[in-house]
């Protein structure tokens, strides 16, 4: 792989054209199926991290029968290390609303809801102002679509779309059994599209520049660009728009402090990449979960050699012990076992071979937990334990 293939872009945060919803008015005139086709061809995947094909999601919701449908913007940005959605909502909210309106017109919804993370309530006032402007514009465009803000209650798991819906319905934020999926049976039992903040902006972008142009972005076989939230041991933390397919090495060269030991890609539910693998691991969506390419919602946490990976892992597991919703056994009990287990090994109360049992337990959690939260705990656990075994044991 070529070195230094990192390419920065500035499309998402580019200033609006003079007339705020001009692009939207043009897009609304386009054929709905053609837009879906364009989105599918672009290969655009959900920017929250799970990576479901956006065009397909909209297509399924369009085909779903229902007298009412909903478009929900998932702004419950809770993955540790991500803060890109906050930036989007404060800098270019109109692009988000446009994406939502576009989605609504395609699937046949007239109600949009922004599920705003409780910690982002400070954005509410400005967002509401922008919503008022949007709704005035929508009226001019003869578009029957309104947006409201729903304030979350602080649970990490509510970023999972069915838990988010449960929470909006006034219930405990617990993931549902799937199927049925929200595109068929979502908010209030109606067909619902739940997309990440950035996804709406990217969808608008794809429709604006076309799949062909969008696919020109990306390196090493990956397509498109996305936002990355860079934090940790870096002199220049912040939100950056980068082409997908870059290697971890590229990131480290650009953002590291010269002493980078590991990079956590995708937040606490993502993977930890040790120095020796920096050059081998690319970041994107097409690879298998455990394959070469690391899927991500864009959280990049950089650790230098002063960091104890035991402490890092301990911190993650602590987080999951708090943030598991607690309903399913593998996640609720499993994560407590992982945490207690590494503590016991560290304290010499369990032999180092117990680590193998814990790795197997993490496998069980990956395959048998009810939702993505429980399933992904194994990602960080196994990648840290396997790459930094000595640090965990001694």
């Amino acid at each position: 792989m070529s070195k230094n293939s990192l390419k920065r872009l500035d499309i998402i945060f580019a200033p609006y054209s003079t007339s705020p919803y001009k692009l939207l008015s043009e897009l609304l005139k386009k054929d709905k199926d053609a837009i879906i086709q364009e989105l599918i061809e672009s290969g655009l995947k959900g920017r929250g991290g799970a990576g479901f094909l956006t065009g397909l999601k909209w297509k399924l919701a369009k085909e779903a029968k229902g007298n009412e449908k909903y478009v929900i913007c998932n702004a419950d940005e809770g993955e540790p290390g991500t803060f890109k959605d906050r930036e989007i909502l404060s800098q270019v909210p109109r692009k988000v609303f446009s994406g939502m309106a576009l989605c609504a017109s395609i699937i046949g919804a007239n109600k949009g809801i922004i599920y705003l993370r409780a910690e982002y309530n400070f954005l509410k006032k400005d967002l509401q102002k922008e919503i008022n402007i949007f709704e005035a514009e929508a009226k001019k465009l003869n578009l029957d679509f309104s947006i409201e803000i729903f304030s979350g209650s602080g649970a990490y798991v509510c970023g999972e779309e069915t838990a988010l819906i449960e929470s909006m319905e006034g219930k405990r934020g617990e993931p549902r059994n799937k199927p049925p999926f929200p595109v068929v049976n979502g908010y209030l039992g109606k067909p619902t599209v739940v997309n990440n903040v950035e996804t709406f902006v990217s969808a608008r972008m794809v429709c604006s520049i076309g799949a062909k142009e969008f696919n020109k972005f990306g390196i090493h076989g990956q397509k498109g660009s996305k936002l990355f939230s860079i934090s940790g041991d870096t002199p220049k933390g912040g939100v950056y728009e980068l082409e997908l397919g870059l290697t971890v090495q590229d990131l480290v060269d650009e953002f590291g402090d010269g002493d980078t030991k590991a990079v956590q890609v995708g937040g606490v539910s993502g993977f930890c990449v040790p120095r020796k693998s920096f050059a081998k691991r690319t970041i994107g969506f097409t690879g298998k979960f455990t394959g070469d390419s690391l899927p991500t919602g864009g959280s990049i946490m950089i650790f230098n050699s002063s960091r104890s990976m035991y402490n890092v892992l301990h911190n993650y597991l602590d987080f999951f012990c708090e943030e598991s919703c607690g309903q399913c056994t593998p996640c609720r009990v499993g994560v407590q076992q992982l945490l207690l287990g590494i503590e016991a090994i560290k304290a010499n109360n369990k032999p180092s071979s117990y680590l193998k049992t814990l790795v197997k337990l993490a496998d069980t959690m990956r395959v048998s937990s009810k939702c993505g939260l429980g399933q992904s705990i194994a990602n960080s656990f196994q990648s840290i334990v396997e790459e930094f075994t000595e640090e965990i044991i001694y």
Partner: protein, 592 residues
């Protein structure tokens, strides 16, 4: 129809069938824990995961509908490892004091452990060092959080079957736990004590409060005269705990066993069930007269008051509708009041030496026995209400070979019963018994149903309706001539709410309503053997009606001991003594 393949066996099932159901259809058993036939699908314990070919993750078979062509493996290596891990995880947060647990031998978690976690302890004990507080504040139900595996069956039961919602999930992650609403003690929330949560709990976390040790003591005390009365639905369920197939009637063996373990007298709650019919039937007729003839403002419809779970429910949820309740005590409490008055008098006993015990399908009966107003004999009328399960335990503890026992009859004086008293145990039974009597009182003729079987009020529909036109009434009752008596029957408190909302809105078309707290009526009571599910309830109901069919005496007013108690003691229905001993009043309570 869809065709799928389970463990290489093709199976055709209807769309919407879950993988679990499809597997059951071809005799493949997939273990479950959070799943219960009575409840909505939760899919949270993950014990039932199976491998679906082509998928990386495992699938919860209870929660996943089949898709055409699906290939399922129910015991692949991947499934076995996960299942073992999951059961181990459940055990790690469960205080495994099996040998000291009431549910030892009747515990779903224990069954899973015996199958899937033979060998070493894989994981660490999460209970160690934690302080668990047992909530024994309620006289009826006890909650031991150290045994809770968070399957949420109790939560779903309280909400879906009963609509009471006093049990809930609190907090999340490692702190997630089951608690009462606001974490208050069980005696301080609108718990109806129905015990459905106990009956649906897979472990020993929720149990009834047990009082049998005190009964052993009384039975061993020569100065005490222990009289036991057994509810109608106990005789069709007790056998399940003692080696008989579901639905076997063990009436005679039960009486024999009680005598053998030390009861001085074994009597029948059915006797006071018959008595209830006389009192309640006359109360209904009196209310109808007041409404139709005297044009007085009486509360109609009148609602039955036999089910103490229902009583507690209406006191909490509809405190301004209490006048609709019949003032009749439940058969248990009528029995208690008479045991320490009429029975004591006839048997020349000092009521203070009588220990009056009832065997009930019900945990709410424990609360009822402890109500302050239930002292009309001058003593606590019922000293202890034991569940069917507690009696089963006592019989096991006694070492009696139940299967070989010679059946014996009940003792006399308050031991005779009619088929009408027996069917109290099934939903619709009180109504049927009341109609058999009331219709005959008014017209002098039998109810116009073949073989006295009033089929419209039978069955397991949540709310049943019926009407009988009164024709050819006796002169005394001619104000009822041509009246179409409208009745309704409901079971499960969720259905009771529907009935009550209708009454609250002034839209209830009925004259008389039977309400039972538990699904299926008493045969599905919270104190009945575990498991209880729709199929088991159906068998117990069939058995109850069979008992009725086989009896020669099938109408409450023909019970000779009932006639005798009126002649010798009570004088007349709704008379002065009746009012003192057999009727009661109710208490307004808060919703929270």
């Amino acid at each position: 129809m869809l065709t799928i393949n389970i463990d290489n066996v093709p199976v055709k099932v209807e769309e919407g069938t879950t993988i679990l159901e499809a597997a059951q259809k071809i005799g493949i058993e997939i273990p479950t824990l959070c799943h219960h036939d009575d409840l909505c699908i939760a899919g949270n314990c993950r014990v039932c995961v199976v491998e679906e070919k082509g998928k990386n993750t495992l699938t919860a078979s209870c929660a996943t509908p089949v898709i055409e062509g699906m290939k399922i493996l129910t015991h692949s290596a991947k499934v076995q490892t996960s299942r073992k891990h999951i059961v181990e995880l459940l055990l790690s947060e469960h205080d495994e004091k099996c040998t000291k647990c009431y549910k030892n031998g009747n515990c779903e978690l224990q069954d899973l452990a015996s199958k899937y976690t033979v060998g070493d302890y894989l994981f660490m004990d999460l209970c160690e060092g934690k302080e668990y507080k047992i909530d024994d504040s309620s006289p009826a139900i006890q909650f031991d959080p150290s045994k809770c595996v968070k399957c949420q069956r109790c939560v779903r039961t309280c909400s879906e079957i009963q609509g009471v919602n006093v049990i809930t999930v609190a907090e999340k992650g490692k702190d997630m736990h089951i608690q009462t609403f606001m974490g208050l003690p069980l005696n301080n929330v609108p718990c109806t004590n129905c015990g459905q949560c106990v009956n649906h709990c897979p472990t020993g976390a929720l149990t009834e409060r047990m009082y049998y040790d005190e009964i052993w003591e009384a039975m061993g005390d020569d100065s005490k005269h222990v009289i036991v009365n057994t509810a109608p639905s106990v005789r069709v369920a007790l056998g399940e705990m003692l080696g008989y197939p579901t639905g076997t009637r063990v009436t005679g063996k039960m009486a024999a066993a009680l005598r053998q373990i030390g009861a001085d007298s074994v009597l029948d709650t059915d006797f006071t069930a018959d008595l209830t019919i006389i009192e309640e039937g006359h109360e209904l007729l009196q209310r109808l007269k007041k409404a139709l003839v005297d044009k007085e403002d009486v509360s109609l419809p009148m609602i039955t008051s036999c089910s103490p779970g229902w009583i507690k429910y209406i006191e909490h949820m509809f405190p301004y509708q209490l006048a609709h309740l019949s003032t009749c005590k439940s058969p248990q409490q009528m029995f208690g009041a008479l045991a320490k008055t009429y029975y004591a008098e006839k048997m020349h006993l000092d009521p203070k030496d009588i220990v009056s015990v009832s065997i009930m399908p019900c945990s709410a009966k424990k609360f009822e026995a402890n109500r302050p107003e239930m002292h009309s004999s001058g003593y606590q009328d019922i000293d202890a209400g034991l569940t069917t399960r507690e009696l089963g335990h006592m019989i096991k503890q006694s070492g009696i070979n139940f299967l070989d026992l010679e059946p014996q009859p009940f003792d006399s004086l308050m031991g005779e019963s009619s088929g009408a008293g027996v069917i109290f145990g099934a939903t619709g039974g009180v109504m049927e018994a009341a109609l058999r009597t009331a219709y005959e009182v008014v017209t002098g003729r039998q109810v116009p149903f073949d073989n006295l079987e009033i089929l419209p009020v039978r069955g397991t529909d949540g709310i049943k309706e019926a009407s009988i036109k009164i024709e050819g009434s006796l002169p005394e009752w001619n104000f009822l001539e041509g009246v179409e008596l409208k009745v309704a029957v409901s079971h499960g408190l969720k259905n009771a709410r529907i009935i009550m909302k209708q009454i609250e809105a002034g839209e209830s078309p009925y004259h008389f309503i039977e309400i039972m707290a538990c699904p299926g009526g008493c045969i599905g009571g919270g104190g009945q053997p575990i498991p209880t599910n729709a199929e088991i309830r159906k068998k117990r109901i069939e058995s109850i009606y069979e008992e009725d069919r086989n009896m020669t005496l099938r109408k409450s007013h023909e019970n000779s001991e009932v006639k005798k108690i009126y002649d010798d003691f009570l004088k007349e229905p709704l008379g002065e003594k009746s009012h003192k001993l057999l009727h009661t009043s109710y208490t307004k309570r808060n919703k929270f």
